[in-house]
């Protein structure tokens, strides 16, 4: 028998999960296909809404050719233009965004709805829903950044909290130096005392032990040279706590038992303990992934992993099925409506070669300059056209073809496959996934219902 569902979601990241649950809550029977590990392990686990409106560079101001001439990085930095922000709330910048931005297309309410759904899914493991205001969270790069929701593990580190702070790094972890982060936070003008210290910890582990090994040691409170891991860390740190009321660590403090790890450390140190999210593999991102997959299960969404979508079948402008590669053979998954949530350039929802950019599953139109030397600007942190690549949606999140018409009546898009946002500079990646996910999921459920009704009405 053919595999059928009301709504088929392709992609297992934040946008895919959001749209699947939004569709399920509209009463649809939903199936979600995830190809491989989601990009959540590369994300910080913070849920950004909108933190900045960054400056734009009109295309005509791009240089005619790339010169070998070297430009001083300080000049590059100085010419970057003025950011609006950090925004006190994600909503106050939406009006200033370009027309093609998903927030401009969907309106602020889509972001509100997306955040509300997220709050509901993660329960008290995330904070920030008590206010519309952004929180400023210290980053492992030594800056603070505005975010809408943050894991409980991060809470005690907020930069608007004025309690004195100690940051701790492990000498054998190279990802950051706690002293440098502390000095940079001071340079950013934070209103509390902050110090950093690098301590020896678990140096009996082999050099270049993976981060997940530390996580496991904390989770199970493994003995390290005879001392349980949590106490061993507390002993390495306690001499430095002094008058600090909160102590921050790289985000490796356990996975399943993370709260207990923090509580134990906090008891030993007499301070609140928090984590600073780091780069891949991101432990807060992995914890969020677990939480989201539990939510899928609770909402009755069927989840299949390890199955890439490779194509589709359509009839009369409607997608009939998605072709899925199962162990090397092509299997059609029929659905009344489909949500494309395959990710952007990182998640491989967008593919490219020397000649152009493609959306590989449905061949959706991805507007981009013909000359690939117009895909970028010279400042690495400038207004990069490539960062805004993706499908262009209508207000119901249907991808549009080159003529501005919906590519298919029942195909919706969500997350980073949707273009128009400068998510990295705006600090809007998660918010775009949530807002587009909610709208795409709901509309997919409605499209499915309407199709069923039409089918029932005809003989």
């Amino acid at each position: 028998m053919a595999i059928e569902s009301d709504v088929l979601v392709v992609g297992g990241g934040l946008a895919g999960v959001t749209s699947a649950i939004a569709a399920a809550r509209e009463g649809a029977d939903v199936r979600l296909l995830a190809h491989k590990k989601s990009t959540l392990r590369q994300a910080s686990g913070l849920i950004d809404g909108l933190g900045y409106v960054p400056p734009r560079t009109p295309q005509q101001e791009h240089a005619d050719y790339i010169s070998q001439q070297r430009q001083d990085f300080r000049d590059v930095r100085g010419e970057r233009g003025d950011y609006r922000g950090p925004l006190q709330t994600p909503y106050e910048g939406i009006d200033a965004l370009p027309d093609a931005h998903p927030y401009s297309i969907l309106g602020a309410d889509a972001l509100r709805d997306g955040l509300a759904l997220f709050d509901d899914l993660v329960g008290d493991t995330y904070l920030g829903s008590h206010t519309e205001r952004n929180a400023l969270v210290p980053t492992f790069g030594g800056a603070v950044k505005p975010t809408a929701r943050y894991p409980r593990a991060v809470a005690a580190g907020l930069a608007s909290d004025e309690r004195p702070m100690l940051l701790v790094g492990f000498r054998s972890l190279t990802e950051f130096d706690a002293g440098m982060v502390a000095d940079q936070l001071s340079a950013a003008g934070v209103l509390f005392d902050v110090r950093g210290v690098e301590v020896p910890f678990a140096e009996s582990f082999p050099t270049d032990t993976k981060i997940t090994r530390f996580v496991k040691a904390f989770d199970h409170d493994e003995r390290i040279e005879g001392t349980p891991a949590r106490r061993a860390l507390a002993e390495a740190v306690e001499a430095y706590v002094d008058d600090a009321e909160r102590v921050g660590f790289p985000a490796v403090l356990g996975d399943d038992n993370a709260a207990a790890v923090r509580a134990d450390l906090g008891d030993c140190l007499g301070a609140d303990v928090f984590e600073i999210p780091m780069g891949p593999p991101s432990i807060p991102g992995l914890r969020l992934e677990d939480r989201l997959f539990e939510a899928l299960d609770a909402e009755g969404v069927r989840l299949e992993t390890g199955v890439p979508a490779v194509g589709y079948e359509s009839a009369g402008g409607t997608v009939e099925s998605v072709i899925v590669d199962r162990m090397g053979s092509d299997v059609p998954y029929a659905a009344d409506a489909v949500v494309l949530a395959t990710g952007g350039l990182v998640g491989k929802g967008l593919d490219s070669d020397r000649d152009g950019i493609r959306e590989p599953v449905f061949g959706c139109h991805v507007p981009h300059p013909e000359d690939r030397y117009d895909w970028f600007v010279d400042d690495a942190f400038g207004d990069q056209p490539y960062a805004r690549f993706g499908v262009r949606p209508d207000a119901s999140m249907r991808p549009l073809d080159a003529d501005g018409e919906p590519a298919f009546a029942n195909l919706f898009a969500a997350g980073a496959v949707v273009g128009g946002a400068d998510a990295a500079r705006e600090k809007s990646a998660s918010g775009v996934s949530l807002a587009t996910g909610v709208v795409a999921g709901r509309n997919a459920a409605i499209a499915s219902r309407e199709r069923t009704e039409r089918a029932g009405a005809s003989p």
Binding site: T125, R133, G142, A143, L158, T174, D183, A187, D208, A424
Partner: protein, 567 residues
């Protein structure tokens, strides 16, 4: 008192010349406007020529190449990977030229070995099925960074002074004769001395310009005309090493047809296109495409490889007979000592121009001989027999792999890079984690480099290869910054991070498609989204109204410990 000589240029030729002069007893100061290898040396293909390439068209250069090739294998084995080279003849390529190439090599004393297409493909399985025959030659891969650093280090050992970030802005003259130089500091030198904007003068008995592609500009400061015939060449870097041998196409027209394995990557290149200004010339898309297309004819898999960046260099060519050659590809690769007293009536000044990375030592020897002659110094050259620092004892490789508790490929590679300096650099009890995973560069190496060159991460990169792999610094730029912080202020370290990140971006722009575009986006997300390095308030001097943001709820922290699943 020893005569004083100023050498302008910190590339292979300049550092080699400083070394040779210092070894022969001169009081030497080397001035380089950037860090060492800042010019062409840092932007070469890294080809240790056998001479085969020039065996038909430019035999004088070919003979120099094979002689120097042999010498470098003796004095700088730690800078060379002995890959061997092949000149491949594909179906349809001229038999006559293949014969000429063989004869030319024989005439120049370059050992060759003709092998069948099948045998060539056994050696290099990714060579095209259209490979008809190949000529084996003793080509290799030469690490220009280690080479220049080793020369500079040895020059210092012999009493020379090396000034980096010191740009010569004028030649001091008396009547028309050169009597010294005036230089302006672009920043502190590698010892941290001086600061940006300082202008200093050095009186010298003689000035040697080894400024390569910039030799014309230096000569102009003494009103001397040196017409360089400089040309640019593009090189494209892939992320995997599909070949282990230097592959050349056996054709007379030879733009972009050399593929050279370097460490974990392969370099494709290079074209040959005249330019006017060595500091400002276009880097063009068609050049990148051409490198890929030409290389793919020999090694088809290259077309689908991940290209991680492209870079351009300028050849310091000098055409002694301008007007006789039609394009820069035909300009001799030979080198010239321009005695400006004899040539232009300007005493106290000599330029060394033209040449190849492979022949840098011979160039240095010739110009040093010339200077010795000027001052009646009767000291013989020893640079062809004195090994460069770090090269003396390869056997310590194995020993230090065990001793330093490093994963063996890491240990092998860092000890290879460090040569006999390994014990000094790696001999610490502290943990020595990997900082750059793509290139397996450890903290000890990075800190050693920072100690030598200061907080300049581009200079650290050139010494250690950190940030030169797949991710192009995406995953290690900030880690390198943390190592800078070990010895410097946070603001200095933060600037170093920005500088390296922007520098790495420059090269990636040219290969921004496929997996490298995905990587660029991932890097962008990590540095802009996760770190907020683009809008960093500490750097941009923004005043943040912290009180206007969420400060958390007091109750949340208090109840934190009560939840067992909360994270």
């Amino acid at each position: 008192m020893a005569p004083t000589v100023v050498v302008i240029g910190g590339g292979a030729t300049g550092t080699g010349t400083a070394r040779d002069l210092a070894m022969r007893g001169f009081d030497v100061t080397l001035l380089e406007r950037g860090n060492l290898t800042h010019g062409t040396t840092g932007r070469t293909h890294g080809h240790l020529h056998s001479g085969g390439r020039y065996a038909v068209s430019d035999q004088e250069s070919a003979v120099d190449c094979i002689e120097e090739n042999r010498i470098l294998r003796d004095i700088a084995p730690h800078c060379i990977e002995d890959t061997g080279g092949l000149f491949v003849q594909l179906e349809g390529d001229s038999d006559e030229y293949f014969r000429e190439k063989l004869d030319g090599c024989a005439e120049c004393g370059i050992p060759t070995d003709v092998i069948s297409g099948e045998e060539a493909r056994r050696q290099e399985p990714y060579l095209t099925e259209k490979t008809k025959r190949a000529i084996r030659v003793p080509d290799g891969a030469l690490d220009p960074f280690r080479l220049a650093v080793a020369n500079a280090a040895d020059a210092i050992e012999h009493g020379a002074r090396v000034e980096t970030h010191a740009e010569v802005v004028d030649l001091l003259t008396d009547e028309s004769d050169v009597t010294g130089v005036r230089f302006r500091r672009q920043g502190p030198n590698y010892l941290g001395e001086g600061s940006e904007g300082d202008v200093e003068t050095i009186e010298a008995d003689h000035v040697v310009s080894a400024a390569g592609a910039w030799a014309g500009q230096v000569a102009a400061m003494a009103d001397v005309d040196v017409a360089m015939a400089i040309s640019k060449g593009a090189m494209v870097v892939t992320n995997v090493r599909q070949i282990d041998t230097v592959i050349n196409r056996c054709l007379p027209k030879d733009e972009g047809d050399t593929i050279i394995p370097h460490e974990t990557t392969v370099l494709l290149g290079a074209n040959d296109e005249p330019v006017d200004d060595p500091d400002d010339y276009p880097e063009e898309q068609w050049e990148v495409d051409m490198m890929i297309d030409v290389a793919s004819e020999m090694v088809p898999i290259v077309e689908n490889a991940r290209m991680i960046r492209a870079y351009w260099g300028v050849r310091p060519l000098y055409d002694p007979n301008p007007g006789e050659t039609e394009d820069t590809g035909d300009v001799t690769r030979n080198y010239f000592i321009l005695d400006h007293e004899e040539r232009d009536g300007v005493a106290g000044f000599t330029s060394v121009v033209g040449g190849k990375l492979t022949t840098y030592r011979e160039m240095a020897e010739s110009v040093t001989d010339h200077v010795c002659d000027r001052f009646g110094v009767d000291e013989p050259c020893r640079t062809h027999e004195e090994p460069l620092p770090g090269s003396r004892d390869q056997s310590i490789l194995e020993e230090y792999m065990d001793r330093f508790d490093l994963r063996s490929p890491v240990a092998k590679r860092s000890v290879q890079r460090l040569g006999d300096r390994a014990p000094e650099v790696l001999g610490s009890e502290d943990p020595n984690p990997v900082v750059c995973e793509c290139e397996a560069v450890t903290r000890a190496e990075v800190r050693d480099a920072i100690e030598d060159v200061g907080p300049d991460l581009n200079a650290v990169r050139l010494r250690t290869r950190a940030s030169m792999g797949n991710c192009q610094g995406g995953f290690c730029t900030h880690r390198l910054g943390a190592e800078v912080y070990h010895d410097h202020e946070a603001s200095t370290a933060r600037d170093a991070v920005d500088e390296l990140y922007q520098e790495r971006w420059k090269g990636q722009r040219h290969t921004l498609w496929g997996r490298q575009l995905s990587q660029a986006m991932l890097n962008h997300m990590l540095h802009a989204t996760t770190m907020n390095h683009d809008a960093d308030p500490g750097l941009r001097g923004d005043t943040v109204d912290f009180a206007a943001f969420d400060a958390g709820r007091k109750t949340d922290a208090a109840t934190d410990g009560g939840s067992t699943n909360g994270d």
